[in-house]
């Protein structure tokens, strides 16, 4: 069946940014301020992003805790990341986080204070020092002040524009981005000197997740297809506690037990207790020292194992027993969370007077595209920042470190992209034919008379990932998953069809395009998980349950033709190499089961 060439508008931008979260917005602001003409693509309405949903805790060395230092923050990041972070990026994060926090204050965000000029700080699970700032409006406040900074600069934001691919010339250099305007069903090719991918993570790969519906890993898959490398993509952070019901709220993060106990402000105090259906504090078996104040990876695994081994509640969770004494400060700091607890669970739970049912949920993509400290990927003209980029957090992220990550590296990606475009000078429009050809391929599902609907396939992939490439992994199941993915790719994807023939807001069509991205990343995650024969941070294998020092290394994945090339690579350390400062005594880590 002949498909006519789809309609495609040609547009221009110096820097094209995909993603309307804080990383994309900060990149837009930085690139604009450096003189570039910027276009930002938001997959839906611009406020629909993961930053919006965040509790907004922001780790930074503000000077208001004299015991803390950027060395300590750096050391905490490496310790949480179990030594496989990109040291240089982690160092940059520690050094620049506070400056970016001040930027947000300049934008109009009023950080919580104890005194007029002194910020209120709290703890985070797994960290060793009190350094997290926050604001009562959380991720909503951060996104709002940034959106208005974008308006003030007149930066063009295109809602309902999904980036489907970057277009490259024969040398592999990015010459533009292909996007579909979902609100009209029209293709747009943005000829640009640099494309910044800030499309967030892959939480939607999993059946139970905390992120927004749009985070299907589009940008990471696009980078992979463009020839970029992915690092440690097998590492997926599961938030240990999230809502169990109602269906719409299932999986939404409740952050960490540390915040429901006195440990929220005192590193030596207790976090909220976690109990199985026998009333046992099972977390003690996994981390006898920090107990429920442990890192997210340890806690999430502990809870998942209890549920899998039949010691969970009938609804499939465990119970968290908060400390009612912290209710007043909890209400003051996080009224939005109290409201959700009230609406989803009830008044007693909202007042922290009754046990709260919780379960782990897929939250954050720890790995991602390989970039340097200026967010340059291996593909010329392609930049990646935020959750889509890998390396900063290693094997497990500290709570509160994503907010500074997206500001620090969002800005760097914008600055670097603008600089590259300036150095390029005048350019001609190239890549239109390639863009048209790719658009035509992606039209296929719209024109197929019969076949499989995308929502069913998505659910199947999500279940496979949750069951086999989630918190608990093993060799045979990973191999089984890879076989299932191969079958889906070869037999199901070519038979996708959409019900609606309207080109306007065709969700099934969007999901059909997303499916290729989900599959690309799912395969990369399963294959990398198979390769890493150990347990470290968020990656847990029942057949290799111990940490293996030989695996203090990264796994790098790259597409070579139709195959995925997987290799082990040394961790990027500081240059020149220097001893990682030991700012605190190392806590004993319980051996994983």
């Amino acid at each position: 069946m002949v498909i006519n060439q789809p309609e495609m508008a040609i547009e221009h931008a110096d820097v094209l940014i995909a993603g309307s979260g804080a990383a994309g917005m900060r990149a837009a602001i930085a690139a604009h301020d450096a003189g570039a003409n910027v276009v930002l693509l938001a997959k839906g309405p611009r406020r629909a992003n993961h930053t919006r949903m965040s509790g907004g805790r922001y780790n930074a060395v503000s000077g208001f805790n004299p015991q803390d230092s950027t060395d300590a923050f750096f050391a905490d990041t490496l310790e949480s990341g179990v030594g496989i972070n990109n040291y240089r990026m982690a160092r940059v994060l520690a050094d620049e986080a506070m400056d970016r926090a001040f930027d947000l204050e300049g934008y109009g965000l009023a950080w919580d204070r104890t005194d007029p000029s002194k910020y209120y700080l709290s703890m985070t699970g797994g960290g060793n020092f009190v350094r997290s700032m926050g604001s009562v409006d959380e991720g909503i406040g951060i996104t709002e002040v940034m959106l208005h900074q974008m308006h003030a600069r007149g930066i063009r934001v295109c809602d309902f524009h999904m980036l489907t691919d970057v277009i490259q010339d024969d040398d592999g250099r990015v010459v533009g981005g292909l996007a579909i305007d979902l609100s009209r069903g029209v293709w747009r090719f943005f000829s640009s000197g640099a494309v910044i991918i800030a499309t967030g993570g892959t939480s939607q790969l999993y059946e139970t997740s905390s992120g927004p519906a749009i985070n299907t890993g589009d940008g990471i898959a696009i980078a992979l297809r463009a020839g970029a490398e992915l690092v440690d993509i097998e590492f997926m952070q599961f938030i240990p506690i999230s809502f169990v019901y109602p269906p719409s709220a299932r999986g939404y993060t409740l952050t960490e037990p540390a915040h429901y106990g006195k440990r929220h402000t005192d590193p030596n105090a207790e976090a909220a207790h976690l109990l199985n259906n026998k009333g046992e504090r099972f977390a003690l078996r996994h981390d006898p020292v920090r107990k429920e104040g442990s890192t997210r990876d340890v806690l999430a695994r502990a809870i998942m194992l209890e549920i899998l081994e039949g010691r969970g509640t009938p609804e499939g969770g465990v119970l968290m027993v908060p400390d009612a004494a912290v209710f007043d400060s909890f209400l003051k700091e996080r009224p939005i969370y109290v409201k959700r607890l009230l609406e989803n669970y009830g008044e007693a739970q909202a007042r922290l007077q009754a046990p709260i049912q919780v379960m782990p949920s897929a939250l954050y993509t720890l790995g991602g595209v390989v970039v340097d400290t200026w967010c340059r990927s291996g593909v010329p003209g392609l930049f990646v920042s935020g959750e889509a980029a890998g390396g900063v957090h290693g094997a497990n992220r500290l709570g509160g470190s994503s907010m500074p990550d997206i500001q620090v590296f969002g800005r760097r990606s914008g600055m670097a992209a603008a600089e590259d475009v300036r150095a390029l000078g005048a350019r001609e429009v190239r890549g239109i034919e390639r863009a048209k050809a790719r658009a035509q391929t992606l039209e296929a599902a719209m024109h197929r008379p019969d076949g499989v609907r995308p929502p069913e396939v998505k659910k199947r992939i999500q279940k496979l990932m949750w069951d086999h490439v989630g918190l608990v992994r093993s060799g045979p199941r990973l191999e089984e998953t890879l076989r299932a993915f191969r079958e889906i790719r070869e037999q199901v994807l070519p038979n996708l069809k959409v019900t609606a023939k309207s080109r306007v807001l065709n969700r099934e069509w969007m999901e059909a395009i997303e499916l290729e991205n989900l599959l690309d990343i799912g395969e990369a995650m399963a294959a990398s998980s198979l390769q890493r024969k150990e347990t470290r941070g968020a990656h847990y294998r029942t057949d290799f349950p111990a940490l293996d020092p030989q695996w203090t290394a990264n796994i790098v994945v790259q597409r070579k033709g139709a195959n995925l090339n997987i290799e082990k690579r040394a961790v990027v350390t500081l240059d020149p190499p220097s001893a990682v400062p030991a700012a605190f005594p190392q806590p004993a880590r319980a051996a994983a089961r």
Binding site: D328, P335, I336, E343, R351
Partner: protein, 127 residues
């Protein structure tokens, strides 16, 4: 303090709520219209009844004094005047900075206005 601290609202049943403000606004509008209509009708009616030049019209409308003495018309009028005044005062005061809750105030004003209306009914009933 914990027990007394007010929780955020549960806003998951908004389609079921009684929209106090809508009721207040509509009542304010209706009572305002009642007052305006009353004034117009009252002026006309009193002219017909009092002005010698309209004696012929008065003769042709023997029902007019009867209508004027209906208790429910008086009740409606007094309710309207009291409601419109008090609610208008509430709006004015809130704009000057006085904090008045939108829920209780509407129903309190309705209750007071209803009392005045009831008073008319009782007066006509000879009580």
């Amino acid at each position: 303090m914990s027990a007394a601290a007010r929780l955020p609202r549960n806003t998951t049943r908004q389609t079921d709520v009684v929209q106090h403000g809508t009721i207040a606004r509509i009542l304010h509008r209706i009572t305002g219209s009642v007052i305006v209509v009353f004034v117009l009708v009252h002026v006309v009616a009193q002219s017909v009844l009092q002005v010698p030049a309209f004696a012929a019209v008065k003769a042709g409308a023997p029902w007019l004094p009867v209508v004027q003495n209906q208790s429910w018309i008086h009740a409606l009028l007094y309710f309207s005047i009291v409601f419109h005044t008090l609610y208008g005062l509430k709006l004015l005061l809130t704009e000057l900075g006085v904090r008045i809750g939108y829920r209780v105030s509407v129903w309190a004003i309705v209750a007071v206005s209803a009392l005045f209306g009831l008073r008319e009914v009782l007066r006509y009933a000879g009580l």
